[in-house]
């Protein structure tokens, strides 16, 4: 019996991403931040009373209202909700026959995380430089969002290679192309953030549905074989 340790470890670690549930989680969070950015940048008057209310209570409260509540809370809720719902769905349906694997908390090597962050930072800095050059402050935010788009592309591509998941290569390719195309379109800042995030969210939802379908098919084959 020949044991391919690396392959076994890869097959085990990919459980977490193979069924597509993680994709829905990412998509949800991206959608929330996209909608939030749209409201903040294109309809600033709609949040002015909230910001004024927060400002009267100190800078910590502003931070709480403008960052923690709209971004961190959905992320935490989706993370916690995901853990409970995913475990149930996976045990009951997706991994009924092939067994349940509880993933490690840190699946990404630090090298990949830091490189992805570096890519985002470089684009962000490029946005700042362009903003100074063209005297257009909105380019800073655009740079940040494009940077996040490139960061996502790199992260998803790294996932595709590390866990041998071809669907992520497609997602990374289309996501990268969408990010570049959208960055060239003359969209309003908020709308740009919304459309960019919407593109990524749709891609991830489609990827999630595909992953789930594949795993469900595999379960059916296993059931039939049994």
């Amino acid at each position: 019996m020949m044991v391919n340790v690396a392959k076994l470890q890869q097959n085990t670690a990919r459980y977490e991403f193979a069924d597509g549930i993680r994709d829905f989680h990412f998509a949800f969070w991206i959608l929330v931040t996209g909608c939030y950015s749209w409201v903040v940048w294109d309809f600033p008057s709609s949040i002015t009373p909230i910001v004024e209310f927060a400002r009267a209570r100190g800078s910590l409260f502003v931070f709480l209202i403008t960052f923690i509540l709209p971004i961190a809370v959905p992320l935490i809720i989706s993370q916690l909700g995901m853990n409970v719902v995913n475990t149930y769905i996976r045990r009951r349906w997706l991994w009924r026959n092939t067994g349940f694997v509880k993933a490690k908390t840190s699946l990404f090597p630090r090298r990949i995380l830091y490189t992805a962050l570096g890519i985002a930072m470089v684009t962000f800095v490029a946005g700042i430089l362009l903003a100074i050059q063209f005297k257009n402050p909105s380019l800073i935010i655009r740079g940040l969002y494009i940077g996040i788009g490139f960061e996502f592309t790199f992260g998803i591509l790294a996932l595709a290679v590390k866990f041998d998941l071809p669907r992520y290569r497609v997602v990374a390719g289309i996501g990268m192309a969408s990010t570049i195309i959208l960055s060239l379109l003359p969209l309003q800042l908020g709308l740009f953030c919304l459309v960019l995030n919407l593109c990524w969210a749709i891609l991830l939802i489609m990827s999630g549905v595909y992953g789930m379908h594949q795993v469900a098919k595999q379960q059916k084959v296993t059931t039939d074989a049994a």
Binding site: M2, V5, L8, Q9, N11, A13, W95, G99, V101, K104
Partner: protein, 104 residues
């Protein structure tokens, strides 16, 4: 040469056995895995898997928790701290030996 022979004889035999190496490899890539997942991923038979899990548990390399999900028994396995350390050492040892063999 004498050192290499000594290295080979001191390799962790509990992990070195192919079926157990497969189990430990799977468990090293996750927090825990249940019996069915280990069956699927390692390709071992139920009987063999049970025996090897028992041996790994006796060596304190894995922890096994048994429970019931509805009417069905459920077995969860995870590497212990000792098991993680042993697997890391085994892997370092193995790679060092492989390098020596490559050079020769």
């Amino acid at each position: 040469m004498q050192r290499e022979v000594h290295d080979i004889t001191t390799i962790d035999r509990i992990i070195h056995e192919p079926a157990r190496l497969a189990i430990v490899s799977v468990l090293s890539a996750c927090e825990s895995a249940d019996f069915n997942a280990l069956l699927t991923l390692t390709g071992l038979t139920k009987g063999n898997l049970s025996v090897q899990l028992q041996k790994l548990e006796e060596a304190n390399y894995i922890s096994i928790s048994k429970s019931f999900k509805g009417r069905y028994p459920h077995t969860d396995c995870a590497l212990t701290v000792t098991g993680k350390k042993a697997f890391r050492l085994y892997w370092q040892h193995y790679k060092a030996l492989a390098e020596v063999i490559d050079l020769e």
